[in-house]
Subunit: 168 residues, 2 copies
Amino acid sequence: MSQLQPVLDEAISGLSPLETGVIDLFVNGVRVLGLPKSLGEIYGLLCISPEPLSFDAILNRLQISKGSTSQGLKFLRTLGAVRCVYVAGTRKDHFVAETELKKLVGGFIREELLPHLHSGTERLEHIDSIPQDPEHEHAAFYQERLSKLNVWHRRTEKFLPLVQRFFS
Amino acid sequence: MSQLQPVLDEAISGLSPLETGVIDLFVNGVRVLGLPKSLGEIYGLLCISPEPLSFDAILNRLQISKGSTSQGLKFLRTLGAVRCVYVAGTRKDHFVAETELKKLVGGFIREELLPHLHSGTERLEHIDSIPQDPEHEHAAFYQERLSKLNVWHRRTEKFLPLVQRFFS
DNA sequence: GGCTTTGTTCAAGAATAAATGAACAGAATA
DNA sequence: TATTCTGTTCATTTATTCTTGAACAAAGCC
């Protein structure tokens, strides 16, 4: 059926100026966050698409590989930046962008920032476990610095919930 | 004179467990921020050094190249994360880590985030300048999305000063 | 002026991260 | 069951970023 009547979504077609502009915006955006360009492309396209897009539609319109599309969508789903929606009359998955800033920020904190923060916690615990020589010439200095590092770390831990709240 | 009495700072010497631990912490830290590892090494070493370190001391103790040392220190200075201090009896520059979180955060915002944010402003202005067809089937949708992108952007602009304040 | 010390710059190489596409697996169709 | 459709995985290729070290400048010393 769908062979007799090709679905427009999946035809190879250029991007409109609007689409290009929005994709460009997000490609720039994900760079700041240290994420691959393809994520920005996919999210940007979905963000400005009035209708859910199929896997193939994304791949065709962005002219990127299956691998990038698959992995990009997978990661965007774990972030909560993209949702899979049911579309009648097709087996294919269809995707839409999640546009609640709250969720996007939450996903990024959860998937990207917290793991690093926890890694930092461990490293700090390791440092704190190193035996100190109280007779060392600079013992007081070391003590002060380690204390400062711990303060920084705790403050960062308090910071993330605040970020989350700011974008809610 | 200094040839007869070699300065300890510049002798090749291993790193103590404490130094290694702190460097490791910062190497992990700068990764989150999307900065090169060598920056973390240099800042970490300076951070846990009771005395100002010379260019050569940094290079020798970290076993990194002159290029990395020079560029790393240069960038850390523009961030305000490292200061050059005068040390009597030597021509060499000596460096110390800046440990006011406020300044570090401020430098990172100024040098890394604001340029990206401004780039985003321009991209958004470009999008907003694209002529819209009010008769388009999805005109209302496009309008709503563009409006949302502008809201996100303005909120992010308000966010940075808040970050700065939180770490002051 | 010549020589040494100190640090910068930048082209080339090394290391890392991202994108590709072919092989694969699962599920619907027939 | 065989076949097609849909999407995933992962080794390889490609692109990007980081590091290196040699050549260079600038400034002090003799």
